[in-house]
Amino acid sequence: MDQEATGPQAGHDARLVRPGRRAMFRAGMAAGMVALAGRARAEAPAPPADDPWSQTPGPGVVSRVYGHPSHFEKDVIRRNVPFLTATPQSSVSFTPLQSQQGIITASGLFFERYHAGRPTVDPAKHRLMIHGMVEQPRLYAMRDIERFPSISRIHFIECPANGGMEWRAAQLNSLQFTHGMIGCADWTGVKVSTILEEVGIKPEGKWALVEGADGAHMARSIPVSKLLDDCMLVYGQNGEALRPEQGYPLRLLVPGWQGNVNVKWIRRIQIGDQPWFTREETSKYTELMPDGKARGFTWKLYAKSVITFPCPEMPVNAPGLYEIRGFAWSGLGRIKAVDVSIDGGVNWTRARLDGLVLPKAMTRFTLPWRWDGKPALLQSRAIDETGFVQPTITELRAARGVNAIYNNNSIQTWQVKENGSVFDVQLG
């Protein structure tokens, strides 16, 4: 029996802020208190009284053979926008970035994007076929793939439709829904170059078709040069086997490029001399410009950032000192700097980059902020090692109009009101 799930206690007091929940916490304590006997009947849940969990042993080892988050974190889940798609099997769910504590997205919270649901692939039966313009076509079982020299790398994966609802105007009042089609993990696998050099690519072989074993038989064309540069065939995620949601037992990782080309459940790589122009690179994942022409093969994810505290889900309450927190990332390399504005972009202050600053990985930034209780317009602006500066939505619209859907990497504005509540707004 999971004791934690039944107790009336709440455990959030030490958190930076969760307005509303503090009040809930007190009410919950008061209600729970009545039921509790003995010393816990103190007026406040503070020293010197012990709480019940300090006066009884908890469940023993293996009471949970596979651990999961505290019951009190039950609201921290992947969520979806039901009206976005016809069916949940060809749809997307969003990472709760408002609760992500470091650059690694918990495997169970990593956003999902399926085109034919999440298949259950038997690793014993799974195969990777490599053929086409190669010297030696090859068919590999998982144990073959795992035998190749291996590497681990931390990289983000972002769907290029992240923020796609916000081209025309501010729509969704939530960090999870405006920015949650991203996750960052420690991936383990084999470099694609190791295997392609093994099979030998013929000189004319410039393009690869990568294909999944799911019902969509997801297929994309990728230049061989990118595969040889830094792509991986991944079977490990955050220290354990790749999750089914992420392509178990094998996925392609294409660092810094749009999520869709990171084909999950990958079973085939065909080498050819020209692209295939599959449905996912013509009908979808192309960007309509104002003149009706469309851009295709816009794979790279340019520099982007967002403030994760405060945000609509994590407002502020009383004036005082806070730490602004957020993430920045670039598909072109390392994050060089992040600037934060509290006045809608008039003045900027350089934030502190915290912890690992890795190429094509989420990077954490923080900045102390003394909130005076007045309205504020919070923004963050990422600059990557190529010198690219994250644009405003106004600049993006001037360049691409409002029908592009994909590759919205604009600066996010959070409006903080006098009562501390936070809203998704756009400035002109």
């Binding site: 979806n80 009206f83 030998g200 294909e211 038989h217 295939w276």
Partner: protein, 222 residues
């Protein structure tokens, strides 16, 4: 691993290495893992079709046969005439690609007819993908092209005719990435006049954001 690195690795490992890895040089596998797929195995999986027709299987299908198949396998979601039921994609239509609500379809947007065969073959019908026979895929492909007024009712789709179909938006794409197309700068102070900072839109009160606490929100706003 480069070939010189391989040689170095071999030298280091010395006589400990045996088997396929000890044989080096072109055409010989260094690791030697896996098997060589048979022609039948490759043919079973190699379903990708290119605009020049490479990958199209033998077989053929007519518009009229495609119409019958479409009613059986496709119309429940895509509508009898490809108009799209509910939120399911519309497959026919000639709405403009510009303006406020562009609705790209096979007819108005797709650059290649071969992509239609490829996609239907690999991903449709949605509840049971990749079960139609090549003749059936050719037929529904012909039907959808005809719904879009791209081919005549007498059209028969096969490996020769499909690559020759001229799609209206064939030249509507730019395949070279023109970015960076924005040029924001690292300005730190007085980058705008304070009175230039105006809220032009807000998500507040729009009422379309699913809740982000409590159980999953399944409601559908208007």
């Amino acid at each position: 691993m480069s070939s010189s690195a391989r040689i170095a690795a071999l030298a280091l490992a010395g006589c400990l290495l045996t088997g396929p890895a000890s044989a080096s040089g072109h055409g010989v596998l260094y690791y030697g893992y896996g098997t060589t797929p048979t022609a039948r195995q490759i043919a079973g999986w190699a379903i990708a079709v290119r605009p020049d027709g490479q990958g199209l299987p033998p077989g053929k299908g007519s518009v009229s046969h495609g119409g019958d198949l479409f009613q059986t396998f496709c119309a429940a979601c895509h509508g009898t005439f490809g108009e799209g039921e509910g939120r399911y994609p519309k497959l026919a239509g000639n709405d403009p690609l510009t303006g406020n609500q562009p609705r790209p379809t096979v007819g108005s947007y797709w650059p290649y007819a071969t992509t239609l065969f490829d996609y239907i073959n690999r991903a449709m019908p949605f509840p049971s993908p990749h079960v139609l026979k090549p003749d059936q895929v050719y037929a529904v492909t012909a039907y959808i092209l005809n719904l879009n007024n791209i081919v005549a009712a007498s059209f028969v789709a096969d490996a020769t005719t499909l690559p020759k179909v001229k799609m209206p938006n064939r030249h509507g794409f730019i395949w070279a990435d023109p970015r960076p197309d924005t040029h924001d700068t690292e300005c730190m102070n007085d980058c705008l006049k304070p009175d230039q900072v105006k809220i032009t839109s807000t998500a507040e009160g729009k009422g379309i954001t699913p809740r982000t606490t409590g159980p999953l929100d399944t409601s559908m706003p208007q």
